[in-house]
């Protein structure tokens, strides 16, 4: 058992106090769970809310790091590189929601890992768990020629407004938000989110007003739902209160018990979009004003990133064919003449520590802090003067980061699958790696095709976003006799364009080993029978499921184990396939907000005791009083009071629990007396008594909470 510690104070004293406190609490809770002082269930959801996710391999963690809008500066890139090197396996993995993940992390390293991230302004808070996850945005925001306006400041305001927001702490499931600058491109994927916002401008008298077309209740997962239109136009000033009101409705009415139906998409479906909208409007009317709703707007109107170097043009004469191919596929001109945005293609979303550090150094020479992660698991470097592209390309080549393929068929999206995820069924990364290899060797004629997208998930849960691919795969199994083989369901006809406007349908189940042949077959078929400029999704629909299935028939057959045992091994895994699925942590644990608050109260008493033992009586008394407050808030939450209502805890507790006799009078009176007494200069004896009172108060609060929660069931 580890010894419980209050972390050293000096080393991290430069962190913002509230951040330092949050991470100290995380470390204390980690030590407490290791000592058996906190329930595993509460700690599971608690650590998930700090981005610490248990891997498939026992005793190892994945650390998800929230990168709002995918925006990275050079200092952050260097920090991520260092942390991957010291705490993981020297690889930063870009996810399909613009996060960065480190794998094979020891949980004991996570507190310092988070503190070092905090030094460069990054939090892992709410990267996992039943909360608002990373807010995504089109990585081309601000430089795209087709956008209505730059959504960056609005998406960023949303991300930080919802982060730690008390109204977003009691969901039954995760909640995802995305912003897009336009209706048509595939970058924002707004329609597959719980809230999807697409930039709009309307004329208001003589003025142009910025706002968003808002969709709600979208999501992938085993049952994908297209988001439904909430409003054709929500003024920018109303976006944050709208999200807060939606969060309140979701927290209050969303499913909590049946985890498979707890996403907001099910709530919207159950209520109907009109009733959902009515409830949100009703909630909106009740919200107390928050200055943050509009505080950022004036600056947002004028927000624009600044380039480091002046614009320039490029003479293509005499350039190497390799450079020209790279330029054609991996770069695009910005809206601002003389500048280009460069996609650094990362196979399987992986970049090594050396490469990340080298890229930061390289990028620093050309641009300001304008790198973004993309949902296609790449990095986008914006504001490169077009005339500098050859030099930038040379720099990327030195780092082995000039691979061609961004946005092309070779640019495969894949979730971690059985490499690390407990829910993974088959190896999505194994298949992606195999295909990546084939696109260099055997299928190289297909690699540059930009009219098709492949996305792979290791199971039906769709973290690889297989529903919105032209050709999607998700992992499954097939038994033949005594043996089980990895297989993939093939989905066709999904679309990332139009903000993920169409979801694909399963057409066949193929052995994992045959997946590359399926790609070859389908691309050949598309090339030979495509009608004009027909999109693949339209082509697949026109051909029909029966015809496609017929075409793939020979690839669907699974030979017997004796006939070909290779089919019973997954891609890039030489051992026999073993079907083993654990309990995933995507869904986290539904922990009532009151439980969190009671746990927090217990932690405060624990810290108060340590302070008391060190002779810090005032600090001990203050913490013990805060413990009372937390426990009282836990009970008041059960009465429907929300922290964001800014109520007075002592007064409300007096009114709703003391005067009604719902709480044991003696213990309640101790609390009310402590509120009057303050926490300074009490002396050792009185402080010790307060600690004991706090402990008793929490015990009683637990009892009352159990009774109240039980009555609700």
């Amino acid at each position: 058992m580890a010894t419980a510690v209050i972390p050293e104070t000096d080393r991290w004293s430069h962190l913002p106090p509230e951040v330092k406190q949050e991470l100290d609490v995380f470390e204390t809770e980690l030590r407490r769970v290791q000592q058996g002082l906190v329930s595993e269930k509460v700690f599971l959801e608690f650590r998930l809310r700090h981005g610490v996710y248990g891997q498939r391999q026992p005793g190892t963690q994945m650390q998800r790091i929230k990168i709002p809008l995918g925006m990275l500066n050079m200092q952050q890139m260097e920090c991520l590189a260092n942390l991957a090197e010291e705490y993981a396996d020297s690889v930063c993995h870009v996810t399909t929601r613009q996060d960065i993940q480190l794998h094979f992390v020891d949980i004991n390293d996570t507190p310092n890992l988070m503190r070092r991230l905090a030094e460069v302004g990054i939090t892992t808070r709410e990267a996992c768990g039943n909360v608002v996850r990373n807010v995504c945005a089109c990585p081309n925001s601000g430089v795209c020629g087709d956008e209505v306006f730059d959504t960056t400041p609005y998406a960023r305001a949303m991300a930080y407004f919802m982060l730690r927001h008390p109204d977003a702490q009691n969901f039954g499931r995760k909640f995802k938000i995305a912003f897009s600058g336009c209706e048509h491109h595939p970058c924002g994927l707004a329609l597959m989110h719980d809230i999807g916002a697409i930039a709009q401008i309307r004329q208001q008298g003589a003025k142009l007003e910025r706002g968003f077309k808002v969709y709600v209740g979208g999501g992938l997962g085993p049952l994908p739902y297209q988001a439904k239109l909430y409003s054709e136009f929500v003024p920018a000033a109303e976006m944050l209160p709208m999200a807060q009101a939606i969060a309140r409705v979701f927290a209050r009415l969303g499913e909590k018990k049946n985890r498979g139906r707890a996403r907001s998409k099910f709530l919207v479906e159950k209520l109907g979009i009109d009733e959902f909208i009515r409830l949100v409007h009703e909630e909106r009317e009740k919200l107390p004003f928050d200055a943050r709703w509009t505080g950022y707007l004036a600056e947002a109107e004028t927000f624009q990133e600044k380039p480091l170097r002046p614009p320039s043009s490029l003479d293509l004469v005499g350039r190497s064919p390799e450079f020209l191919r790279w330029m054609r596929i991996n770069t695009r001109p910005q809206r601002q003449p003389g500048y280009s945005a460069v996609t650094v293609f990362l196979p399987l979303g992986d970049i090594s520590s050396d490469q990340m550090r080298g890229l930061a150094r390289l990028v620093r020479q050309f641009v300001r802090d304008t790198v973004r992660t993309t949902v296609e698991q790449n990095l986008l470097v914006r504001w490169i003067p077009t005339g500098d592209l050859p030099d930038f390309y040379d720099g990327l080549r030195e780092l082995e980061l000039a691979e061609v393929g961004a946005g092309a068929l070779a640019d495969i999206t894949a979730c971690p699958g059985t490499d690390s995820c407990k829910l993974g069924i088959s190896s999505s990364r194994g298949l992606a790696a195999l295909l990546h290899n084939k696109f260099h060797n055997g299928l190289s004629d297909l690699a540059d095709r930009q009219d098709l997208k492949i996305k792979i998930s290791g199971c039906f849960n769709s973290c690889g976003q297989h529903h919105v691919a032209d050709i999607g795969f998700f992992g499954s199994v097939q038994r033949k006799g005594a043996h089980v083989a990895p297989v993939f369901q093939v989905l066709l006809g999904g679309q990332t364009e139009g903000n993920a406007s169409a979801y694909g349908l399963a057409v066949a189940k193929v052995p994992s080993k045959n997946a590359p042949a399926v790609i070859k077959k389908l691309t050949d078929l598309y090339s030979s029978e495509r009608a004009g400029e027909e999109k693949f999704s339209d082509f697949a629909r026109r051909l029909g499921k029966a015809r496609i299935k017929e075409e793939l028939q020979e690839l669907c057959a699974l030979p017997g184990y004796e006939e070909n045992p290779e089919y019973y091994k997954d891609n890039r895994q030489p051992w026999d396939f073993h079907h083993s699925v654990g309990t995933g942590e995507c869904a986290g644990e539904v922990v009532d907000q009151s439980e969190f608050q009671l746990e927090d109260a217990g932690r405060l008493v624990f810290e108060a005791t340590l302070a008391f033992d060190e002779g810090h009586h005032d600090e001990a008394a203050a913490k013990a009083y805060q413990a009372h407050i937390k426990a009282a808030d836990a009970l008041l939450y059960q009465k429907g009071l929300l922290l964001s209502d800014n109520y007075n805890t002592v007064e409300k507790f007096r009114e709703l629990f003391y005067e009604t006799g719902e709480f044991y009078a003696n213990f309640a009176e101790n609390f009310l007396r402590a509120a009057q007494e303050g926490s300074e200069g009490l002396g050792a004896e009185k402080t010790r008594r307060r600690l004991e009172e706090a402990t008793l108060f929490i015990e009683m609060a637990q009892t009352v909470y159990s009774r109240m929660a039980g009555a609700k069931v």
Partner: protein
Amino acid sequence: MTEVASFQSSVVSNQVNLQKISVKILTDAPPTLNLDPFIAIFGRWRAEADHPAQWRDLADYAHMPRGPGIVLVGRNANFSFDLGSAAPGMLYTSKRNLDGTPEARLRSVLRTCFEMSHRLAAEPEFPRQVRLLTGSLELQLNDRLETPNTQLTDRLLRPAIESVAHDLFAAEGLDLRRQPDPGKLYGFSIHSPVSPSLDILLSRLRA
């Protein structure tokens, strides 16, 4: 700055806790070496439940040019055929459970690295064309909080490092070069004009 401050306090209290140490034996393998044989080898090794490294799984990064290659990940240590700098090679990284003086810990990590590399090179699938350059080692202390790449760290730890390197290569001549970039890990490139066998290096560590 913070990291330096934290290390200074460690120096004062003489409690540098070296746990994360990596040693890489360079090879003459091309950076494009097919890594599939290592999947097969490490696929077998990972099943050894009683290994002190407590293997968890292997991580396949063969798709990354100059990447970590194929990594056998353990709770206490990782072992890989790594394509990163300075050249492809066998990389052993300890993560915990070291004890004794800094020098004792360095010796322990080097010993394990040599033993595992010896075993790897003897595996039937190991690419026969690949030769170990045992006179070219990369040593890194993989913990910027505990051992930032500063003069202070160097003052404290160089004697231990020099002592071990001297034991290994003094007979043939030794070139010890510290990583000059303060942004990178504290570490050394250790070069000797000849490449003694791993058995010889192991015997020199024991001596």
